[in-house]
Amino acid sequence: MNSKRLEISRLFHRFGFGPRPGEYAQAVKNGVDSTRTNLVTVPEIDLGAARVLDPVITDLGQRPAPNSKEIVPFAIAMRFQSQQLILWWLDRMALSDHGLTERMTWFWHGHWATSIDKLNYPLPMFKQNKVFRAHALGNFNTMTKAMLNDGALQFWLDGQDSTVKAPNENLGRELMELFVLGVNRYTEDDVKAIARALTGYQVVRSNGNVTINQNRRDSKPVVLLGKTAVFNGDSLADFLVSRDDCAQFISERLWYRFISSSEDMTSDFAAKASFADRSIASAVTAMATDSSMSDSRYSLVKSPVEWFISACRALELTPSKLSTPGQLTSYLDKLSQVPFSPPNVGGWPAGEAWLSSATAQYRIAFATWLIKQSDLSVIKNIAPSARVSKSADWLGIPEWTPRTQNALRASISDPAQFVLLALCSPEYIVSA
């Protein structure tokens, strides 16, 4: 496989949500270095993203009693706003001119995986999403502090119920295991200690506002990972994030989501050293330059949302304008990936988990539905005889296998079937 085409394909599909028509061919002309610099340099202004207006998400207040008169408008507003929230984010992913910010926001959503299914209010999830975006390429220590003050995360992991009388270990354990250090890099005694250090948070569920109730706080010193101290949220973040295990863990997670979910991280993976000052941007840039990026062993399955957004970009479709939004979320749900609803605090699965016979079927149904809403001019404007060869550039694929070329060639006079097969091909489902 041509390594230049491979690396540029990976840059588009992994550091963004895939190319728009024409972008990949142009990038191949420009070369790897120029493409990489473009993709990892966030511009001051993103006109595409700016076209997506923020949704109106309000504090819906306390849930009215069941069977009361007020419950109906409440439930309607809840459902409408939750849907607007999902469409807003999908639009940002599909319409941004520069993909990296939304791509990293998506990464952090899977990292600090919080589900609206427990919150049951859209506003805290909206606020959390803005925290992810604000820190997407910022400093990880600052992000961790912001996340400890994030109402959605606190509520999701029962922080609001954790008191000096009976600390709840949920948030503390996951903070070490899934967010900052990685599993088994602490003891069960550390879990008990960190739970005490994190007591006292209180959350207004409907709006995500966080306060600290000193009466519920355990203000005695704890012994955490060998250090005896009275921690608060900020000092706890400082302490955990400064540990070597944090750099190891975050680079492992970057590797898992950007390089390979099935092969182990290499010992010299460049993201780790570049994370020394906890700069996420440095780690991401180093990762984009790492030798693994041109190593053909490290293919990666696109998750359903990644696959859907890249198809929207290729077909120049706007998610919120698809008919209907309810059908859109239903397709995403069938593929088991709806934004704001990760399956659990560990985030979305990866790799072969997305490659079952069931997902194969839903992908076909989903793509069929999408294609009906596109005028397909992007393919119709190519002469039939050139469709097979030019479609690899259109979708940002390094090369079609002979297998897929045969299927596409048999469909050159049927643009809808041609596009369907291209979108459902192994070469498009998997980032080579």
């Binding site: 119920d161 009976a166 354990r173 599993v183 605090v345 072969e352 988990a353 079952s356 997902t359 998997v430």
Partner: protein
């Protein structure tokens, strides 16, 4: 399946065609034929694995109802003794598990107490990975039933998981199980089908993951051809349960829908030896008593109904159900009327051939290890017995050399 039921089968599926669900009459016959071509041989044992995700609180499932320490450790989340369903002088079932209590009374339920593995891990993900890979000591990527699949002839029908994401348990190194979403699979037709099948062929330059993507497309055609018509049949009748408003008492739940599909497919003779179903939501850090009772109610009602449905088929003696969760929960309650992640918990094995009763020792509430129950039975003892006695395969190829067994099955 005999010819009479095959005709019935075709009638049902062509009925579906009339309302536009399927449009190709000719291939219906072929599809039906394919599903009937190689039914599971009569008497072949079938395993149904029920995974309870989130860490089911074993102490509020099989409750030491005479132990004052139980009540004092969790005053906010213990049940009232008089509502529990006593199994013997020391242990009682959760008040919402009347159905399983009924099966227990019929000696069809084995409860393995204190099940876990060495050096318990309190992380959902690590602990579930240990259970599903059956490798608590070192991380491996294949699942225990996936490794069993590796030893079987390749056939996407042998192990099927309900739902669209395949659990790691069914991922082998060479062969993986299939996923079947509720509602079944819709298979492309005509020219598109021909080209989809072309896409599912292996290509020389495929990476491992691209090859897996191609295989998933191939399995779609294999599995859906065989299963789709059967899904359109009504579920087997639960012969001995009262019917309320057209459905059996207890109401619907996702688990009961999953088990409905399994019952239909077992009844139709699907060549499937392992089924996987699941229910989530057991991570009861807060407000546990009601939430967990509701979930256990779903488990109890769905499985009782499933057992009853099987009675109207010829397969009821062949099915063994295994229920597990990634860990139990801390003995002492927390401030949120919930419990944090713990260690050992009970496993349930249910079936006509089960030797009902308790196995393994009940972990003591007064001899805790760091606030947690001691593990008294290794889950690999149970797996080894399941592999040998249910799946009739050597345990060693899946578990390595493992000596422990749990004798919960009547020898044939």
């Amino acid at each position: 399946m005999d010819t009479l039921s095959r005709r019935k089968f075709l009638k049902l599926t062509s009925g579906a065609a009339a309302v536009g669900v399927a449009s190709n009459f000719l291939s219906l016959d072929q599809i039906a034929q394919a599903a009937i071509d190689r039914p599971l041989a009569a008497g072949t044992p079938i395993l149904v694995v029920v995974t309870l995700y989130g860490g089911n609180d074993g102490l509020n499932t099989v409750i030491p109802y005479k132990d004052p320490v139980y009540f004092s450790s969790r005053p906010d989340i213990s049940y009232k003794a008089e509502t529990m369903l006593p199994l013997d002088a020391e242990l009682a079932l959760n008040p919402n598990m009347a159905g399983i209590k009924g099966l227990w009374d019929q000696k069809k339920v084995a409860i393995i107490r204190g099940v876990g593995y060495p050096k318990p891990d309190h992380s959902h993900f690590s602990s579930m990975a240990k259970w599903q890979t059956a490798s608590p000591e070192r991380h491996i990527s294949s699942g225990w039933l996936g490794r069993w699949l590796d030893s079987q002839p390749e056939d996407p029908m042998v192990a099927i998981s309900l739902g669209s994401v395949l659990p790691p348990m069914l991922a082998g190194s060479k062969i993986s199980g299939s996923a079947l979403p509720l509602g079944g699979l819709v298979i492309p037709k005509g020219a598109l089908a021909t080209q989809c099948i072309q896409l599912s062929k292996a290509a020389r330059t495929d990476s491992k993951l691209m090859a897996a993507a191609a295989t998933s497309m191939r399995n779609l055609f294999n599995v859906s051809t065989n299963i789709q018509p059967i899904l359109k049949m009504p579920a087997p009748v639960a012969t001995d349960l009262p019917t309320v408003n057209g459905g059996n008492a207890g109401g619907d739940s996702n688990l009961s829908q999953q088990l409905d599909v399994v019952a239909k497919l077992i009844s139709a003779g699907s060549p499937t030896k392992v089924w996987s179903v699941s229910l989530g939501g057991f991570d009861t850090h807060a407000n546990e008593a009601n939430a967990q009772a509701e979930l256990l109610g779903v488990v109890s009602v769905s499985l009782t109904r499933f057992m009853s449905q099987l009675k109207s088929t010829s397969r009821s003696n062949d099915v063994t159900i295994m229920i597990y969760s990634e860990f139990g929960r801390r003995v002492k309650g927390n401030a949120s009327q919930g419990t944090d992640h713990g260690t050992a918990g009970p496993m349930f094995l249910i079936g006509e051939k089960i030797k009902g009763g308790f196995y393994g020792d009940q972990p003591s509430l007064s001899k805790l290890i760091d606030g947690d129950l001691a593990v008294t039975t290794d889950f690999r003892d149970v797996y080894a017995t399941v592999l040998e006695s249910v799946l009739q395969s050597p345990a060693e190829q899946t578990l390595g050399k493992w000596a422990g067994r749990t004798d919960f099955l009547t020898k044939v």
